[in-house]
Amino acid sequence: MITRKVRKWEKLPGKNTFCCDGRVMMARQKGVFYLTLFLIIGTCSLFFAFECPYLAVHLSPAIPVFAVLLFLFVMAMLLRTSFSDPGVLPRALPEEATFIEMEIEAANGNVPAGQRPPPRIRNVQINNQIVKLKYCYTCKIFRPPRASHCSICDNCVDRFDHHCPWVGNCVGKRNYRYFYLFTLSLSLLTIYIFTFDIVHVVMRSVDNGFLNTLKETPGTYPLLFLSDFLEYLSFTVLEVLVCFFTLWSVVGLTGFHTYLISLNQTTNEDIKGSWSGKNRVQNPYSHKNIVKNCCEVLCGPTYPSVLDRRGLMQEDSPVSAASAAPSSSSSNSSSSNPVPQTTKTTAPLIPNEHTPDDAKPSIAASAEKSPSPREEHHPPAPKVPPLASPETDAETSIAKDKTH
């Protein structure tokens, strides 16, 4: 049996990509993120190369200096949003998942055969509001309030806002403020570049005496204007176009998120209309004070990542027999499980027909021999619970076929 030390990020389930030995965490599709980088860096490079020398000389050297600072801030916020952990909740280990299943069964009582078991929901009262906590079949946990499962990254994220392809990551509790500061500073940068591009065009025109030319030779004015225009200002036109389209989208987005922050809501809640006021439903997380809401979201404590990405764990070589007992500190011991499983994202769901008697000895044995509960939980029952998510149904039936 060969054991080797690996970093925990290598064994994390979910569809994230990791770089720099676990320091960087992003979504799988990064194409749009590269486009964002290209647009920002490209436009700013053109601005610094073509407009700034003229403006520094003719107006003030403070203009490029401030532009550089703003650009650096935008890049810092973008990279921080894209590379950090948005607040991913780690999946339940087998013992915890079994414990929750037992609690659910105890709460449901005896469901007559053939009847659909009740949906897995826990009701919690928060600030005189009943909030429903849903069960996540992929992560095997009851999602905390405001958490949601991102299907693109295949993780439950705490205070899930949305998955942003432009930054190539989910936006959640840990990186929401960086995302907001990114959109805000990018709006400022876009407005800044747009303004100074217009100023540059106007100053060039005045310098080259276009207005005088217009008075003297109105006929040849368009040709003169065009040739000079193309000589000096083609890059400016490009920048103005990029800034114009960016302005409408980014400034609008900043405005929208400012509205959400003042009400302490997430994009996810806004889209679903969770606190829209229907049926007297109000946002229980809001402090009812705009300043306090903004302070909490933007200046609140910086939450640490609960995913230990760079921790070390033992990994047993797959050559070993099924009696391998992974160390208890592993974040997901099922990945070294020699029992064949279809994918590591959806482990076979323990069916509801499972009697509590079968589940109890599994808890006792589970810490010592963690692969075995998985083998025990492949009963030959042909029916899978109808409320299992569709992909879990398929996975379970395939897994059952394999074990037969």
Partner: protein
């Protein structure tokens, strides 16, 4: 020190009888708080008051970490002005409190829980979702 070593050896030799998971208490919102309800599986092992005291202290520590006060605002604004590069050299308030929590749990395990054949797992290792209490089999602690 020697006693801690022998307790750890005992833990490794002892078989795990059961695990209990103390769930989060969301009645005050999304702040990290755990339920103080005493689980029935621990009735034979530990005093109810003792256990509730441990959970209550942990809850207070987490509340301190997530407190929205002048300190957190100053830290937030200062960090924003430096484009959050200050966190490369400085530890956040939350991280400092997490270290305190880790030390407290270690201390509680050594003094109170290990002699009774129990082990508390730091909630940060379970994603701040549960406090995992491992119950070891009684026969290994014949005293």
């Amino acid at each position: 020190m020697a006693e801690t070593h022998s307790l750890q050896d005992m833990r490794q030799q002892a078989a795990v009888a059961a695990k209990v998971f103390i769930q989060r208490d969301y009645t005050n919102g999304t702040v990290c708080q755990f339920q103080t309800k005493f689980p029935s599986e621990l009735e034979t092992r530990i005093d109810k008051q003792q256990f509730e005291e441990t959970v209550r202290t942990l809850n207070n520590l987490y509340a301190e970490a997530e407190k929205l006060g002048s300190q957190s605002y100053i830290e937030g604004c200062l960090a924003c002005l430096t484009a959050y590069t200050i966190f490369l050299c400085m530890e956040t308030h939350y991280e400092k409190v997490l270290k305190k929590i880790a030390k407290y749990i270690q201390e509680q395990n050594d003094k109170i829980y290990a002699p009774r054949g129990l082990l508390l797992t730091d909630p940060i290792e379970r994603g701040l979702r549960v406090i995992e209490v491992t119950i070891f089999e009684d026969r290994s602690l014949t005293r």
